[in-house]
């Protein structure tokens, strides 16, 4: 067995089976399809591409705390099974994508949420201006807060989540420079359990509520479920993240208290990427999906933003026109 590679016998069958159709391989981060959040959004884009573009797809997901080599192996397996393009969901794949892409220059790769100076040209980065959407969330929060006291809960104090915090604070301050913003991070890297522990989210939210905050934005994966519950049970406003939390079955009970969600339209990015590839002019380099490109937006479910819509529109206008510059790291 030593000589043969695992892929020796199925490369032919894989690549040639559907000459007409594109085969898209998708590697999710932990949680995968059905995580009610980020990965799910990517999955929606993939489903859309399958329906509308008729592409073939296969999916695999990361395991908690797995080795770097497992990610590489996953990507390699997708490549050698004939999938092209291969989409990696989440910045944890950066190193693996770079490595596998260098070994397979003929295959196109996309990585979501990450970009690096050293990645080869067959890698496309699909990134989002989280700070812009969060800025709008900050505007909404500050406008809705009666106590002039709001809160931010980050799942893990990573660079990515700090962008959310930075935008949110800037947005809130733009409405009311004196507003008080509580900040809590549930864990710090390398402990990523903060994205995964609703109990922690609940406690953190309760702490902020007890201190007087009345609108709380949580960018904390499924820990956010806990904070939304805590906020709703006190009758205050919650702001969700990634997917529209008000439409999540798991949170339907608290719908009335979900002010909005800062939606990151990963599905749009994924769909656009696949479509461009199929159309023969693939996206390259770093493709940033910002507010203007509808990469990020505020969800409207429930219509709670109606009364402050003018303010949000104005802020949107200022951002898309470039008039407002939003920091990507929190001020303090």
């Amino acid at each position: 067995a030593c000589g043969a590679k695992s892929t020796d016998n199925n490369t032919s069958s894989g690549a040639s089976s559907g000459a007409s159709s594109v085969k898209v391989g998708m590697a999710y981060d932990i949680g995968g399809r059905g995580d009610q959040s980020f990965n799910d959004s990517a999955a929606r884009g993939l489903d859309q591409a399958k329906d509308q573009l008729g592409v073939q797809v296969t999916e695999a997901e990361a395991k908690t705390g797995e080795a770097e080599a497992d990610k590489e192996a996953r990507l390699k397996s997708l490549v050698s099974a004939g999938y092209n393009p291969v989409i990696a969901v989440g910045f944890v794949y950066q190193a693996a994508v770079e490595k596998v892409a260098k070994e397979n220059p003929n295959v196109k790769f996309a990585i979501i949420d990450s970009a690096s100076d050293t990645q080869p040209s067959n890698v496309t980065s699909l990134t989002f201006s989280e700070q812009e959407g969060s800025y709008l969330a900050g505007v909404a929060a500050a406008s809705k807060s009666k106590a002039k006291h709001i809160g931010f809960i980050g799942g893990v104090q990573s660079e990515l989540i700090k962008k959310f915090e930075a935008g949110y604070k800037a947005g809130a301050k733009s409405v009311d420079p004196n507003i008080v913003v509580e900040t809590t991070y549930l864990t710090t890297p390398p402990d990523f359990s903060g994205f995964n522990d609703p109990g922690k989210g609940k406690e953190a939210a309760q702490g902020q509520l007890d201190k007087g905050a009345d609108v709380i934005y949580s960018a904390a994966g499924s820990s956010g479920n806990g904070s939304i519950e805590a906020v709703a049970s006190k009758g205050k406003w919650a702001i969700g993240v990634d997917s529209d939390q008000a439409t999540q079955p798991a949170l339907s009970k608290y719908k009335a208290n979900i002010l909005t969600s800062m939606v990151k339209n990963v599905n749009v990015a994924v769909f656009d990427y696949i479509k461009a590839y199929k159309d023969g002019n693939p996206l390259t380099g770093v493709k940033n999906f910002d507010l203007k490109a509808e990469g990020v937006s505020l969800a409207q479910t429930g219509g709670f933003l109606k009364d402050i819509q003018p303010k949000i529109d104005a802020a949107t206008q200022a951002i898309t026109s470039g008039a407002t510059k939003i920091p990507t790291t929190p001020e303090n």
Binding site: A4, K63, A67, A73, S158, P190
Partner: protein, 385 residues
């Protein structure tokens, strides 16, 4: 708390006793089979085809790329297993391998990114750094145990969490990680210098890590220390009976400190192959749970360097080939955890049953031989009278 030392070696003749070999092999083989059966049932009940699933795993595990991955992973698991086993051999339950490993590799990555010496100095420097940091972190638990009577079980659990905090603290950009990272969303140290790279072997199946030789060296040293040195004798004696060791003149306190530190030093090396052979930086995507895998591997390998090699290989094979399950047939790869769990439990039960049987046989033999001696003595006496 544990009975970490395998039963004594048998005599030369009995070591090659066919029945014994059969028994010794029967235990693990039966256990693996039993676990395969249990997992098959689980797969079948959930509407999956178990044969196909195992086929996927075996096909990948026997392909050259799968083999290389498995061997690389075995290297890591083996070192982790040795780290845990060293403590176990002295009845120390070092749950803290996890934290020691993370701190060790973080510091090695940092030093490697800051210093650029010729490879012959650089590589040993990084190894020593990792061992030193891992050893020192483990020593905290050792010191607390010896001087404050804190059970190493709790202190290492706490130290694992604290190690995570320390890593977080040091990884704040501008400290061990560069202020501006090349990779926008990830926090990680700068890559280690070129001279830090460890040699590797290119094969048809990919890159085989040269660190496997270091792992083998660790195993050889471990075995040699344990069976051939005075220190090793003291260590085993303490593991078998602390009271007897103390009465025999072993300085148990110093022994606890030393073995905790050595266990931690080995733990410090766990992340090195990944660092110096593959990723070249320390970041958030570091493999978690290696400490716990090490404990399982050590216990499965009965804390002996040879046994650990087999159990590390088995665990690595399962983990590596398990990644193929969702890709080829939509099998949840969690089935691998189930297999590992059942194997650990089945193997120890099987070993215990075999051990009991063996002990009984030995006692019977001793009894029979003594009776024969006594009879002979009586006969002699009568002749004399």
């Amino acid at each position: 708390m544990t009975s970490p030392n395998p039963p004594a070696k048998r005599s030369f003749a009995s070591r090659f006793d066919g029945e014994k070999i059969l028994l010794a092999l029967a235990a693990p083989v039966l256990a693996v089979l039993l676990s395969v059966v249990l997992c098959s049932v689980l797969l079948a009940v959930s509407g999956k085809d178990p044969f196909d699933a195992f086929d996927v795993m075996i096909r990948y595990g026997t392909a050259s790329d799968g083999q290389v991955l498995t061997l690389n992973r075995t290297t890591v698991y083996y070192i982790a297993g040795c780290a845990a086993a060293f403590g176990f051999r002295m009845n120390l339950f070092n749950i803290g391998v996890e934290g020691q490993y993370r701190l060790g590799v973080l510091f090695a990555a940092y030093v490697g990114s800051q210093v650029d010496l010729p490879a012959v100095i650089q590589v040993p420097l990084l190894l020593v750094t990792a061992m030193l940091v891992g050893g020192l972190w483990a020593s905290v638990a050792g010191v607390l145990k010896v001087y404050r009577g804190v059970s190493e079980v709790i202190s290492t659990i706490m130290l694992n969490a604290i190690a995570t905090a320390v890593v977080g603290l040091l990884l704040i950009p501008g400290r061990f990680a560069p202020a501006k990272s090349a990779n926008a969303n990830a926090i990680q140290t700068a890559p280690v210098s070129e001279s830090s790279h460890f040699f590797s072997i290119e094969t048809a199946g990919g890159t085989l890590w040269g660190f496997i030789f270091v792992a083998i060296l660790i195993g050889v040293l471990f075995q040699f220390t344990l069976t051939r040195t005075r220190f090793g004798f003291d260590l085993r004696a303490t593991g078998r009976s602390e009271t007897a060791a103390k009465a025999s003149g072993v300085n148990v306190k110093r022994m606890v400190l030393t073995s905790m530190a050595v266990s931690g030093a080995i733990a410090g090396l766990i992340g090195i192959p990944e660092l110096l052979q593959s990723s070249f930086y320390f970041g958030q995507s570091i493999q978690l749970n290696l400490g716990f895998i090490g404990i399982s591997v050590a216990l499965l390998g009965r804390n002996s360097p040879i046994g650990i090699a087999f159990s590390a290989l088995l665990f690595a094979f399962l983990d590596v080939s398990g990644t193929q399950l969702p890709l080829q047939g939509d099998y949840p790869q969690e089935i691998v955890l189930v297999m590992q769990g059942t194997i650990v439990i089945c193997v120890v039960v099987a070993y215990e049953l075999v051990r009991r049987y063996g002990l009984k046989r030995q006692q019977q033999k001793v009894g029979a031989e003594l009776a024969a001696q006594a009879a002979a003595a009586a006969a002699n006496k009568e002749v004399a009278a």
